[in-house]
Assembly symmetry: D2
Homo-oligomer: 339 residues x 4
């Protein structure tokens, strides 16, 4: 079997995650090169996973005729440039989210993907999570009847530094973007309107930096269903990730994964495991599964499971939520995009 040859741009945490998935779990692909502006990082990843080549310049991947597909795992501002360069060089691309913070640049990426006919998948890994994906199947296969309500809880175990929060583009584009995508995934359609409430209760320096750390956002979907997302930058008990879909025939809801199913009963109470610590523990299998499906989409020439539309609409929703928060009113999606 000929293995698909992969180049990874960006040797940070997520680049390592994908390298591990491909090296250990996906027999029909292999990482041929990794690059990072800090060449030392690229070298470390290469040595860890036996990747034969590394470099400080991502153009070495773009220009390498052996490489079939590029994983764009570099900082957000570079996503669009690298993705476009790779597509134009005839390579399939897996691009981490968000594609860009500018809607125009995302549209440009979409156009190039269209023109080149290459595969382009966006890194919304949570769609591949065993729990959330099961809720989505039940929401989409008719088990729950006509969808009426979607609820998403998403809370991080620990807040970022105020500096990070400020530079990240804010909670909506940095954190809730995953939940916007999950909401559309569960509902099976786009969103018409959002209303955002937000405040800084976790760390007031986050508020001073112009961001929020606690937020509830409500959604009206194109299909008439209603939705609500709550985010907090800090849950004392760990990474809280739950979704609920409610329809005319019933409800599907998931619970957090713990490290075990053990319950300990003592005089102090009946104690179960806390949620698994953070996204690397909780969602590791979903990272592997999204990569497996990306590679299958290329090898079998099938549609990618998460296309550029998801990359675009999640950013649109993040912008609409920020506008709603700033202007203290519900905001129609058409005010941001496609109006």
């Amino acid at each position: 079997m000929k293995k698909l040859k992969i180049g990874i741009v960006g040797a940070g945490r997520i680049g390592n995650v994908h390298a591990e998935s491909i090296t250990y779990h996906i027999p029909d692909a292999e990482v041929l090169m990794v690059t990072d502006v800090m060449e030392e990082s690229a070298k470390r990843l290469a040595e860890r996973f036996g990747v034969p080549r590394w470099s400080g310049d991502y153009m070495d991947i773009i220009r390498d005729p052996e490489i079939d597909a590029v994983l764009v795992c570099s900082p957000t501002p570079t996503h669009a440039d690298i993705t476009i360069a790779a597509l134009k060089a005839g390579k399939h691309v897996f691009c981490e989210k968000p594609v860009h913070t500018s809607i125009e640049r995302i549209e440009e990426v979409a156009r190039v993907a269209e023109e080149t006919g290459k595969k382009l998948q966006i890194g919304f890994n949570r769609r591949f999570d065993h729990n959330h994906a099961h809720v989505q199947r039940l929401a989409q296969d008719g088990t729950l009847g006509n969808l009426e309500l979607i609820k998403i809880t998403s809370r991080d175990p620990e807040p970022p530094s105020p500096e990070y929060a400020a530079s990240s583009g804010g909670l909506y584009i940095d954190m809730m973007i995953h939940d916007f995508d999950m909401a559309m995934f569960l509902a099976g359609c786009d969103v018409k309107e959002v209303y955002a409430m937000g405040t800084s209760l976790v760390d007031k320096r986050i508020g001073e930096a112009g961001d929020v750390d606690t937020s509830i956002v409500t959604l009206t979907f194109e299909n008439g269903a209603l939705g609500v997302i709550d985010n907090s930058r800090r849950a004392a008990y760990g990474y809280d990730q739950r979704v609920e879909a409610f329809g005319s025939l019933g409800m599907a809801a998931d619970e957090n994964d713990g490290d075990s199913t053990v319950r300990v009963s003592t005089a102090a109470g009946v104690v179960s495991d806390k949620p698994q610590f953070f996204f690397l523990e909780r969602y590791m299998a979903s990272f592997t599964e999204e990569m497996r499906q990306f590679i299958r989409a290329i090898n079998e020439d099938r549609e990618v499971p998460v296309g550029i539309h998801a990359g675009l609409m999640s950013v649109v929703l993040a912008k609409a939520a920020k506008k709603s928060l700033d202007e203290h009113r519900p905001v129609a999606i058409s005010e941001i995009y496609g109006g």
Copy 2:
């Protein structure tokens, strides 16, 4: 022991519930008279619980010098009149919710209660539920730290007829009023602002009658916490009643009560009990407990656990939610009351 003498105005479902609590579960009180505009109903209740007197005119209770306390269980439009008459006649009053749909009338009731110095308790029974009350204790005793998010799910098993929905004053005053009170109970403070989204997905005739059957309402509390309530008039799996309080030190959340803890594992899956059917099953113990505490407040001259402020603010929130829905914008509570 001298038993407190009770008169019940209104021999409908809730009048029967209170008569049953007093007769079978509260040794230090007894029902002396019941009235109903349909005298036949009053007689039936009297016979069922061994109540010695009945009548078609509630003034027979007001004028009866033996009666210490009156339970106002008649239709909503009559609550304020009967409550005021009873207070002025020197009787303690337990009044079902909502006290009235007019804020002015509720304020009048409050004034009369103040002037007469008699006890006045409002029938928000869910505060006495074993699950919700436990969450509230944890929210208020510091276990959860600084409160940040309150979430309430409240869904009925079956929708009312469109006629009932139309005449009930709408979902916010008829159904969500319980959840508005629960939200303030859990948060330990009043609400500053609401935003309501609503639609009719369950029965479009409810929408045609000008009401909604599915709604999400977000809340900003005076203490800075955020909240969200979701209501549906129909949950296929039964009466869904869950609350969640989240703070800087953790979260407390309850689950629905079923009839048993049995899990049945077969080839078809692992099946647990559905939620108990409706409010008479689910909240029966809370009805008894609110009555027990009302009678104790009288006998021991203590403050009632749910006073007229709760009766007032729940109606204010219902009105604010309706205004928000109609005007499609967040509504400050000060626009409705106390501004």
Copy 3:
């Protein structure tokens, strides 16, 4: 409606439980007299529940022509004598377990009940528990297919004093007798053979007094199924009461009841309620239900739900288990009874 007139012999804890059930929860019966060898106790119960007559001599109940039914709640050694006297006086009898520690005396009680044609119900209240009864229905209605395994866990929150343990007749007749009855109730048939292992791990003085405080007993049922019961006199987390029925089509198992469904998630873990403290909390509803069904059996002339056969076989199993423990070998029931 004419109320059934009840006399209660024995004003201890269980006498009070039944008086409370009848007074507050069973409209079609009333307690007319209570007796206790300590007349003061009888008087206290009478005053607490408004019982008109009390006495220090149970014969006052036996001789009272107004009394329809007698509840035998006195110490175990007196059960048979009082039951026989009451039956012969033409009264229905509810007798607490165990009926007697002598099989011959139980057989005599059975004969008298047969001859007089009066109702005789034995106080195995756990059969009326909402959880265990649901498992039993599923075991008997075919949902689980052919029954293969029955498992019962039964652990007390706190050990008795060594003196009590010694005088109680031992763990099998004092504590596991409930589980022997539950096993036959779940299996729907009698037992053929038992094997008992026991030791004193909780309090070695219990062992020194000739009893055990920790025991596992296995059972072979007449229908071919196998069973196992485990007992401990002390569970640090409270009263642990669980049953499991397993058959060719699946399994039904229950969990302990807690005081609420609340889960508290903090840095320390996810904590749920411990089991309800002890039998008065955990099984209160079952005491009421057994009394309700006893009274209905009389009023509607139906078969009692727990007859003398259950009273007999539970004692037979306790004796067989003790013999098995002493002789360190499996013991056939036919060695004890009916061989």
Copy 4:
């Protein structure tokens, strides 16, 4: 990093499991050769995992000087011969359970391991399961206090053919052997006595072939605790694997793993996932973990986590259980071994 070189004898299901673990999950080892008496099977495994050499003769592994460690995954009767040959050739050995059905042969294996000083690990993978291992830690670290009761439920989803059951050596050596080892693992000591009840309720042809398919076995541990294991060859709802440890300070118990945490609530009830299908799904991570620890024991010259004593005592218990069943009496371990 120099990778440890592995040879696998036996290219059946479990040989493939270990090859997959090493190839994809254990960076510091690699499979160099695989053999199987059916050379075609060896070749298939080799091609699947990129193993460079294969053969029909396990002596090719024994004689290969490059190979550091041998995994014995061949049929049970060959385990001892191959293990001894590998140890004598200076190789570390991982041997699947049971080591042999003859106690003398297991003792011989133990002697050879002792003499050669090579590592010898036995394949009791369940000790490495995330759930069971967590219960064991709590049982051994003092959280549960003095251990009093151990309970193990272990039921297969589907019965084997009667032919397999007959040739497998019977339920105790083929299936319950895992549970005997788990019992000693949880209790932290050996067993003194067993009593076995067994019958064929699942498939009467299994009974006709001289075996049982349903069994309860009770255990007395050296430390005074009591234990019970129940096995069934067929659970309609799937592979049921639960353990419970109970001590003076409390209880730790695990539940089955499902594929997701999703609960689906409809008019039909609240449905959760069934247990994961069978051992390859349920215990896959434990197979990887036992292999990781075997390789670490070699690389860091540490004691293996499961030594030959476990291999010996599990067979001793299986034999004692069979003798107890046949002779219908409790059997002391000293009757079988070390008496």
